[in-house]
Amino acid sequence: MIYTKNLAYAHPNGRILQFPDMACAAGEVLLITGRSGAGKTTLLHLLAGLLQPGGGEINVAGTFIQTLRPAAMDAFRGRHIGIIYQQSHFIASLSIEENLQLATVLSHGPQKQERLQEVAEKLGITALLHKKPGRLSQGEQQRASIARALMQRPQLLLADEPTASLDDQNCAAVASLLAEQAHQQQAALLIVTHDSRLKELFANQIILS
């Protein structure tokens, strides 16, 4: 579903980051770890098309995304890539339900109320749909942001430190939830983390140095 070749990123300060080649098939999980400053977040942003690579190529679902222009990249990302951030960001003025709908609206996908209910049920946030994001706890927010990433049935799920701010119990719950959803939807799941609790859960790992 996703693979990279000779991927490199030229930092504005002149430093060049080289990334090892990686690949992840549909329904599988790849854990990317490394010490702070090794370029974990940079890699994730490259894979999401938020950053333009300095060299090499990235193929997501058959498309070389480094060739896409900004507007096309935004549209592609909206349709095929779901991103879960370390800190959950929502549009503060909209309810959770509207935030989830936003994902489909912005990528011009078909709007289905059933999909919303289905995702909300899976992640156990049905009761939270009418609340504003600010009124949710950390764990609830993280679950809501996973729900948002899943709304479009993306083929690639990218998670940036999804468990860093969660306690042990929530960490295990979120990790298994992510793996389960990726498997169910046949999406490739890439998790960028330095959380040692996750290293024990997923076998498929790449270490950045």
Partner: protein, 446 residues
């Protein structure tokens, strides 16, 4: 969806958005009210002087003469002798001449002694009853009928002077013969009667009031010299256009009729004149002002002068209005700059969810546009409400009738467009910042 987010974002910060809206609404209200007042004042002022090219009256302030005789606002400058005035009323270049005689009032409404020509000028016929035909018969304006509660056949006595209080001419009772339709002009607030009524009432008064008599003596003294000069001139002009005299005989019929039976000291307050051609506009006023003890004032000139006098006042208000608008634009700018900074993660998030950059630009501009349009609508309502309130409380006293004030004019639209443009301009910088947002950096620094 973008519009919806913009709207929700505004509601998310109700105090800030409310402040911006209030500033916008106030500035719009001030500006639109000014536009409306300027337009209405101009329309009203010009409507009243339609058909009056020159006013002949006693010496004094020309503006006062116009205000008193055409707009029925100020006190008259004094009286002139009908005999003197008639030379000009029958001038071949004069299309029609309407004599008016002021002096009395009823409950603050002026009683004007005049001829049928006064009504002919407005092409008006009484909505009820008939025109006046005999002395002491009156035709009253629509407002007078309503406010003073006068109906056809009612009789009343005039009060001396133009105020509400004064000597009441109890011995002379006017009879209402006709009621005029509402016109929106000062005519609505007038009581019209034949010149003879005014003369009849004041025949006795001349003897009673010493100062009046004094004035007479003065006038008769001056008048003799001027008479010859004016007469001479008049004669020459009349000779060149012998047919003219005949044609306007009708307009002056009433005054000519009365001429026979009245003494040479018969007075009127002013004569409203319309010329046959623009040439007279150049000749007659100068001739009268230089050669007689009467004054000729041109309404168009005086009204221009009045407007330029009032102009500096409205200019200050206009500057204040634009200042308020600038302040509103500044507050929108601050709100959006702060908002886009605080919500930069949200903006980055929207991008990462597949939102194009142009839409982020649109989002910020939409917030400003929603505020702008809401502010302009609020200001429009506020301005018109203020206009309506002023109409009720203040302007009726000055015989100004601002009708159709809800109508939108081009000037209104231009003002609204300028304010909206200012809002969008204020949103320009934050919008461009949102457009150029580095989403990777923003999200990485979360």
């Amino acid at each position: 969806m973008i519009l919806r987010i913009a709207f929700k974002n505004l509601l998310h910060k109700p105090l800030y958005a409310g402040l911006c809206w209030l500033l916008l609404a106030c500035s719009t209200a001030v500006l639109l009210l000014l536009v409306a007042l300027n337009r209405q004042a101009k329309e009203q002022l010009e409507k009243q002087i339609a058909g009056v090219d020159m006013v002949l009256g006693a010496k004094g302030s020309p503006l006062q003469l116009i205000l008193s005789s055409v707009y029925n606002l100020d006190a008259p400058t004094g009286n002139i002798y009908l005999r003197d005035a008639q030379r000009f009323m029958q001038h071949p270049l004069v299309e029609y001449a309407i004599p008016v005689s002021l002096g009395d009032s009823y409950r603050g409404y002026r009683i004007i002694g005049t001829t049928h020509a006064y009504l002919d000028k407005y092409k008006l016929k009484p909505a009820a009853g008939t025109v006046f035909n005999k002395p002491m018969e009156v035709v009253i304006g629509a407002t007078v009928a309503k406010r003073a509660g006068l109906a056809l056949g009612d009789s009343f006595a005039g009060t001396h002077g133009l105020g509400e209080k004064g000597h009441v001419h109890d011995e002379h009772q006017y009879v209402v013969k006709g009621i005029l339709p509402a016109t929106g002009l000062s005519l609505d607030q007038l009581i019209l009667t034949p010149l003879e009524s005014v003369w009849a009432i004041h025949e006795t008064k001349v003897q009673i009031r010493e100062e009046d008599e004094h004035e007479h003596a003065e006038n008769t003294g001056n008048e003799q010299d001027d008479y010859h000069a004016a007469h001479h001139h008049d004669h020459g002009e009349a000779g060149t256009d012998p047919h003219g005299e005949h044609s306007h005989e009708h307009a002056n019929q009433a005054s000519q009729e009365s001429n026979g039976q009245l003494s040479p000291t018969t007075q009127i307050t002013a004569v409203l004149m319309k010329f046959k051609n623009p040439l007279a506009q150049l000749q007659l006023p100068r001739m009268i002002n230089e050669n007689t003890n009467m004054q000729a004032a041109v309404p168009a000139i005086e009204i221009n002068r009045l407007q330029s006098l009032l102009g500096s006042g409205t200019e200050v208000l206009r500057i204040l209005g634009w200042l308020l608008a600038a302040l509103a634009a500044c507050s929108i700018f601050v709100m959006l700059v702060q908002g886009t900074h605080e919500r930069r993660y949200e903006l980055a998030l929207l991008r990462s969810m597949g939102c194009r950059r142009g839409k982020l630009l649109g989002l910020v501009l939409a917030e400003a546009a929603i505020l702008g349009i809401a502010g302009i609508l609020g200001g429009f309502l506020l301005g018109r409400l203020a206009g309506w309130f002023l109409q009720q409380q203040v302007f009726t006293r000055y015989h100004l009738n601002f009708s159709g004030s809800w109508r939108l004019t081009q000037a209104d639209m231009l003002t609204a467009a300028a304010i909206l443009a200012a809002c969008l301009l204020a949103a320009g910088f934050p919008a461009i910042r949102a457009f150029r947002l580095n989403i990777s950096k923003t999200l990485a620094n979360a």
